[in-house]
């Protein structure tokens, strides 16, 4: 049995652009903005980076294929660069590539950069793209909100919690993230909202209203990783170590087998189990101090509280309404505003989550700094509930 990569890789530096409708910035500008901050934070020379991973989801409308655009924008010295894409887990996938390169000893310093330039599409929401030549023939012409909205009807049926009560808990999820986003200067959406606003917003995909949906944003985030030894040799004192990086991909059970009831994400459960084992966590609700989860929609955040083993089955709405996951609650979630308000430039999101955990663990989170957290978790859910990639990552202060 593999021992995993716990504590074998640390973060040398990170950067993250302001997220939002960045009419001023193209893909190269976003990559550079995140990279320059990370390089500065790492305190190294650009040529010390030995390999790079670029995460971009919609290559069709921003940089095109491959990671050559990364190499060109950053003028990297012909090092190997690889473009990765794993739906909304793309940013975490880029980090996994860089971390594994370092953990394997293949290189000392590696770069992971996630970027998405969505707001060149010309319309609101995510761009419409083909689902593949066979799936286009039969799958519904779904949108992301429509695909995730179905979690609500299935969850309500499984738990017996009425749709009205569920909507109230979902509204709390969004209200909380707006409260948090208002404190974050890099967040896309910085205004607080009321519960009533969330409940009465125009319907996007029943039962998801406008405020149940995350921002569609431009942005980039970047991590430079190395070994703990190398970091110390470079004079770094406080180190954030990677405790676990786990991924789980659907194999068709959710989309094709009746054993899945449509009310949860199978892959999150699997990835979380593996991540907790790799990180040595046996009581996540006690041991984890903060987390950034994939709140593409309020209902997603709600149900993954159970999939991550944090709320007991059927208790997520109650825990949410009790404020457990608020910034001042027992287990703060989306302290930076989350996908909901920080925004969701798809390829960048996994690294953006890691960026917040990194800042919080190092005490550099400004107005939204929590009281000395030591373990943080990130979670992505790429795809849609019937077909997805879940990633669960755990970060902690190196001993």
């Amino acid at each position: 049995m593999a021992t995993g990569i716990r504590d074998k890789v640390v973060i040398l530096g990170m950067g993250c652009t302001r997220f939002g409708e960045r009419w001023d910035a193209g893909p190269d500008d976003l990559m550079l903005e995140a990279f320059i901050e990370a390089l500065d934070d790492a305190g190294i020379e650009r040529d010390q980076i030995e390999a790079g991973w670029l995460g971009v989801f919609y290559d069709e409308q921003s940089v095109g294929k491959s990671a050559i655009p990364l190499s060109m924008a950053l003028r990297l010295p012909n090092i190997p660069v690889t473009r990765v894409e794993n739906l909304c887990a793309t940013g975490s996938e880029a980090l996994r590539g860089a971390a594994y390169a370092v953990a394997s000893g293949a290189c000392d310093i590696a770069l992971a950069l996630g970027m998405e330039k969505l707001k060149d599409s010309g319309y609101a929401g995510l761009p419409e793209r083909t689902k593949g030549s066979f799936d286009d023939l039969w799958m519904p012409s779904y949108t992301a909100p429509g695909a995730f909205a179905q979690l609500a009807s299935a969850y309500s049926t499984r738990t017996g919690i009425s749709m009205d009560d569920l909507k109230r808990a979902m509204a709390h999820v969004s209200w909380k993230s707006h409260q948090n986003g208002a404190l974050n200067p890099k967040a896309h959406l910085r205004q607080a909202i009321t519960i009533e606003q969330a409940l009465n917003a125009p319907m996007v995909a029943h039962p998801l209203g406008l405020y149940d949906c995350c921002g569609v944003s431009d942005g980039a985030a970047c991590a430079i990783v190395t070994t703990p030894e190398m970091a110390r040799s470079l004079g770094k004192r406080d180190l954030v170590a990677i405790k676990a990086l786990q991924l789980a991909a659907s194999n068709g059970v959710e989309s094709g087998h009746a054993s899945w009831d449509g009310s949860y994400t199978l892959t999150t459960r699997t990835a979380a189990g593996r991540a907790y084992a790799e990180a040595g966590i046996d009581n996540p609700r006690k041991q984890i101090d903060l987390m950034e989860v994939h709140d593409c929609f309020s209902i997603t955040e709600l149900i993954v509280m159970e999939d991550l083993g944090l709320s007991a089955p059927g208790d997520a709405p109650k825990d949410i309404l009790d404020g457990v996951y608020d910034r001042d609650g027992a287990l703060p979630c989306q302290v930076d505003g989350g996908l909901k308000c920080f925004g969701h430039p798809i390829g960048a999101s996994g690294l953006r989550m890691a960026y917040e955990i990194y800042l919080q663990l190092l005490g550099r989170a400004g107005d939204r700094q929590l009281d000395s957290p030591s373990i943080g978790m990130t979670h992505n859910l790429g795809g849609i509930p019937i077909r997805n990639i879940a990633s669960v990552s755990v970060f902690g202060l190196a001993q």
């Binding site: 319309y123 023939l137 012409s141 429509g146 179905q150 959710e254 989309s255 087998h257 054993s259």
Partner: protein, 481 residues
């Protein structure tokens, strides 16, 4: 050679009904004469229906499984979606019929349906599935807009002892009397004065055909129990008088309930008669359109044991009123609605992929695992059951007639759909599998978890740039009838 006749029949009428009053209210400013015609309602196709999908549903209404595979399939329509692609072959694939079948599209006249019926009755061996389906468009405020309805009828024609009705005689004449026409590529008919059609067409050509038909068959006109004429009721009454037919034998022309369904209409009226006819009853059926087809049928004993799935009666009962004239216009393409940038999506179909997956996509064939029994779609080499995952264990299974159960759903206002919201969700199939499908013919706010659904052959997407329509199956809530 044994006698031939009708072995089975089925019908399809779209759920949506547009009251003629709604048309008159909207358009009488342009044509006050509409008010006088504002009685009853017309059946109108949903955005995802056309002559092909309705043809498939009419054939499914026949309960074909009880019969030998037909040797021929003829699709009659003046509104086929493809001018050069065997539309009938799509029906064969959707019905999962044996591919060793002769297929033919018959078109270009409102008589195509009865002409196809005549050909099938004359054909020597084997049975023929004759399907007539039409969904003609009409200009707003035109008399046709009031008159036309959409629908389909299917009839299985053959020989043997199990005939529901045997043909006694059949005659046809061809005459290029053009009181309306539609040129290739045009959407609407061009019509001339109806009185000319009445005097020179109906009142002359029909007797010219029917009189010798009765003489040939040696049948006294008074003994005919059901008469189906392709003309307005008043003209039909005149014809009865001139031909010596009993006026009370005139069959319900269904104009009030669903409108004139074009090529389909004589067959639809015949199906309606067969639903109530007793053994021994004689039926006169007449089709019209640049000529006349006339038939005499005699109903036989097996009629008592045959029921289509829903038939004309069941479909007429299964109605939903269209309250918006503008929505009707938009869905038949008469007005262009701004569907936003999302509708620009390039829906190009990979025809190679469609061909490889034709059984799955057109035929809705899934797989049943021989080891664990899981029914799955699409069928793949490894079983989807996480506790099985057996290789090459699946046998093809038709999913078109299975019942499903709604597991989750949404009403999506963001996705492009010509009748928003786009409704879709997970459907549990046979208690073992799952498919995320679109729901059709269901009003927003009516879906519930656990609701039983049945499958319908529908338009999946339209590629406007390349004028290609692609089809797949959708789920619709099972209605109590």
């Amino acid at each position: 050679m044994s006698e031939r006749g009708i072995l089975a029949y089925g019908a399809y009428i779209p759920r949506r009904r547009l009251p003629r009053e709604t048309i008159a209210t909207a358009m009488a400013w342009a044509n006050p004469a509409l008010k006088a015609r504002a009685k009853g309602e017309r059946a109108i196709r949903a955005w995802d229906e056309d002559s092909l999908t309705m043809a498939v549903e009419a054939a499914r209404d026949c309960k074909l499984a009880a019969f030998d595979a037909p040797a021929n399939l003829v699709l009659a329509s003046t509104t086929l979606p493809f001018a050069d692609r065997d539309n009938a072959a799509v029906v064969v694939a959707a019905l999962g019929l044996d591919e060793r079948i002769n297929t033919l599209d018959m078109t270009a006249t409102l008589r195509a349906g009865t002409a196809a019926l005549g050909n099938a009755l004359r054909a020597g061996d084997g049975s023929s599935l004759v399907i007539a389906s039409d969904c003609r468009d009409a200009r707003p405020a035109s008399p046709q807009e009031m008159q036309i309805g959409h629908g389909a009828t299917a009839m299985l024609i053959g020989g043997g002892d199990a005939l529901l009705a045997r043909v006694l005689a059949h005659r046809a004449i061809s005459r290029d009397l053009v009181e309306h026409y539609r040129a290739q590529g045009d959407r609407f008919d061009y019509t001339v004065e109806g009185r000319w059609l009445r005097d020179e067409g109906f009142l002359k050509l029909i007797p010219e055909t029917v009189q010798p038909l009765l003489t040939d068959a040696g049948i006294n006109a008074e003994t005919i129990d059901h008469v189906i004429f392709p003309c307005p009721a008043r003209v039909a009454g005149q014809l009865c008088k001139s031909l010596g037919l009993t006026e009370s034998a005139l069959a319900d022309d269904l104009i009030t309930q669903c409108g004139d369904t074009g090529t389909t209409h004589p067959l639809l009226c015949l199906a309606r008669v067969l639903e109530r006819a007793r053994p021994g009853a004689k039926i006169l059926l007449v089709g019209f359109g640049q000529g006349v087809d006339a038939f005499l049928f005699e109903v036989t004993e097996p009629i008592s044991d045959y029921r289509p799935r829903l038939g004309v009666e069941g479909h007429l009962e299964r109605r939903r009123e269209e309250t918006s004239y503008l929505r009707y216009l938009a869905q038949q393409g008469a007005i262009e609605v701004d569907w936003g940038n999302r509708a620009e999506f390039d829906n190009r179909t990979a025809l190679t992929a469609l061909y490889r997956h034709r059984d799955s996509v057109t035929g809705f064939t899934g797989g049943r695992c021989g080891k664990c029994g899981t029914v799955q779609f699409p069928s793949t080499r490894y079983c989807v059951n996480p506790d099985c995952r057996e290789l090459d264990s699946q046998e093809p299974v038709s999913l078109s007639d299975i019942k499903g159960r709604v597991k989750s759903f949404t009403e999506d206002w963001l996705a492009y759909c010509p009748n928003p919201p786009l409704q879709y969700g997970n459907v549990e199939i046979e208690g073992s599998g799952n498919i995320m499908m679109e729901f059709t013919d269901c009003e927003p706010g009516t879906l519930r978890i656990g609701m039983p659904v049945e499958m319908q052959f529908r338009i999946k997407d339209v590629d406007k740039r390349r004028s290609f329509t692609r089809y797949f199956w959708k789920a619709t809530p099972v209605e109590e009838t």
